[in-house]
C-alpha cells in the first residue's frame, strides 16, 4: 500500500514491534526518573533561592543561571564525553557512568533548573500569613514548609510541571547522542539502515504523541483533584499521591 510514496503498511508492521516498544519503554524510564529527580532538585534549590543567607541564595541562583543558560545537548555531551576526559574519576561510583545513568543525570540536572523557578513561584504564591500562623503554633521552618506551605504551593505548581513533563518527554530524545537507545535512537538506527526516513519518523512521532496525550490526561486528572480552585470536599485534603509524598493530613 503506497500513498505519497510512503509505505504505510511498513509503518503498521513496525509500530508495535519489540524494538519500538523497547525504545518507548526507555523513553518513559528516562523521563520519569529524570522528572522525579528534577522535582527533588527543583524543590531543594528553590528553598535555597528563598533562603536568608546570601551564600545559599547565590548557589541557587548560580545553578539556574548555568543549567538554564546552556543548551541541554551541550550538557549531555559534557557529562558523558568531556568531563570524564579531563577528570576520569569524577563520578563518585567507580568511574564511568553508563549512558543511561548519565542521560538521567543530565536531564535531571537540567530539569531541576526549570523546576527551581516553578517551585519558587509556587512557594511564593502562598500567603505569608500561612508561615506566620504555622510558626505561631510552634512549628519550625522545615515542618511548616512541609506540612503547610508546600501542599499549598503544589496546586500552583501542577500545571507548569505538567508542561515540563511533556517537554522532557520530547527532550529525552537528545540523549540519543550518547547512545541511549530510546525511541528516537531506535528510529534513527532503523532509518539509517532501511533508508525509510519518513516511515520511521512517523512511527516515532506517533509514539511521542501517544505519550504526551497520556501525560496531558494524567495532568488534567491531577489538576481536577488537587489543582487551583477552591478547596472543598472531593478536592485536596490529601489524596493518595499527596499522602504518599508526606503532605497533607487525614482527620
Amino acid at each position: 500500500m503506497t500513498f505519497l510514496a510512503v509505505d504505510w503498511g511498513y509503518i503498521g508492521e513496525h509500530l508495535f514491534s519489540d524494538i519500538v516498544f523497547e525504545g518507548v519503554w526507555m523513553t518513559l524510564r528516562l523521563t520519569a526518573t529524570a522528572m522525579f529527580f528534577g522535582v527533588v532538585l527543583g524543590t531543594a534549590f528553590a528553598l535555597m533561592r528563598l533562603a536568608q543567607a546570601w551564600p545559599v541564595k547565590a548557589v541557587g541562583l548560580a545553578y539556574i543561571w548555568f543549567f538554564r543558560g546552556t543548551p541541554l545537548i551541550v550538557q549531555i555531551v559534557f557529562w558523558f564525553f568531556a568531563l570524564p576526559q579531563v577528570w576520569p574519576g569524577w563520578a563518585p561510583w567507580n568511574g564511568q557512568m553508563s549512558p543511561f545513568t548519565t542521560g538521567v543525570f543530565a536531564l535531571a540536572i537540567n530539569e531541576g533548573a526549570y523546576m527551581t523557578e516553578i517551585m519558587r513561584a509556587g512557594i511564593q504564591s502562598v500567603d505569608t500569613g500561612q508561615m506566620e500562623a504555622a510558626k505561631s503554633l510552634g512549628m519550625t521552618y522545615p515542618k511548616a514548609m512541609r506540612r503547610i506551605i508546600l501542599p499549598q504551593a503544589l496546586r500552583v505548581v501542577i500545571p507548569p510541571t505538567g508542561n515540563e513533563f511533556i517537554a522532557l518527554l520530547k527532550n529525552s530524545s537528545l540523549v540519543s547522542v550518547i547512545s541511549v537507545s530510546e525511541l528516537f535512537l531506535v528510529a534513527k538506527l532503523q532509518y539509517s539502515s532501511s533508508l525509510l526516513y519518513f516511515e520511521w519518523l512517523i512511527i516515532a512521532s506517533l509514539w511521542y504523541l501517544a505519550l504526551t496525550t497520556v501525560g496531558s490526561v494524567i495532568q488534567a486528572w491531577i489538576e481536577s483533584r488537587y489543582g487551583a480552585g477552591s478547596y472543598g470536599p472531593g478536592a485536596g485534603g490529601g489524596g493518595v499521591a499527596l499522602r504518599w509524598l508526606g503532605f497533607g493530613a487525614r482527620d
Binding site: 500567603d127 500569613g129 500561612q130 506566620e132 500562623a133 504555622a134 510558626k135 505561631s136 503554633l137 510552634g138 512549628m139 519550625t140 521552618y141 515542618k143 506540612r147 503547610i148 501542599p151 499549598q152 477552591s230 478547596y231 472543598g232 470536599p233 485536596g236 485534603g237 490529601g238 497533607g248 493530613a249 487525614r250 482527620d251
Partner: protein
Amino acid sequence: MTNSQLPTRNSQLEMRDSPLLDVIDVYKRFGKLEVLRGITMPVAQGEVVAILGPSGSGKSTLLRCINHLEKIDGGRILFEGKLVGYREVNGKLKEEREGSIARMRAQMGMVFQRFNLFPHLTALGNVMEAPVQVLGKSREEARATAIAMLNRVGLASKLHVYPAQLSGGQQQRVAIARALAMNPKLMLFDEATSALDPELVGEVLAVMRDLAAEGMTMLAVTHEMGFAREAAHRVVFMDEGVIQEEAAPAEFFGAPKTERARNFLRRVTQT
C-alpha cells in the same frame, strides 16, 4: 543591638508577683521608622489586657514581637522569666536557635486579623495539626481535643468543612480553637475582629469574653471598645510607639488622662 541594662527585678517583683509576661523597654525599628520606643508592660497570670490606639501606633508590632514573629532592636521580653527569642551571652543578646523559639511559641496562642487558617485542611485538620506535629500527640488524642475545642467555640457541626466554606466569624473561631488546642499559657489577639463583617463581630467577641471569664491570660489588640471596657482588667493606650496611658477600663474610659487618649476616644465613639 542596643540594650539597656536589665532593670532591677525588685521593682517589678514588688508590683506583682513575677509576671507571666514581662515586656521591658522594648524598641523596634523598621528601617528608619521607630515603631516601638521603649515599651514596658508586665502582664500577670490571668490578666486580660486590651491594647488600644490609632493605627500605626505599634500595637500589632508589639504583639508580634512578643512571640518573636518580629525581632526586637532593644530591651527584653521575658515569658515565665525566660528571654523570648534570644539568649544572653556575656551580657549581649543573641538570637535563639529556631527549635527553642518554636518551643516558646508553642506555649502562646496567636489569633490573626486575617485568620490565616490552613486552606488545605478541614476545620478539624486545622485544629489537630499542631498538637500532632508539634506536641507529638497521637491522632486519636489530638482529634478528641480538637473536637472539644471546636465545640467550645460553637463549631461542633463544622468539623469536616474547609475554611473556604466558612464565614469570616466561623473561620476566626476555628483559628481560636486551633490556638487553644495547644493549651497555651497566653493568648495574643491581633485585631481578631477587624476583618469581619459587622454582624459577625459578636460571635468572635463572645468566644473571647468566655475565655477571659475562664481566666485565660490575654493580650488583645482591638478596636472593640465594648470588649475593652467589659472584659479587660486593664487598658493600655499606645500612640507613636509609646504607652501613653494605662489604667483600669472604667478609669480609662471615664476619665482619660492624656489629650491623645481623649482625642482617640472621641474619634472611635463618633461612628
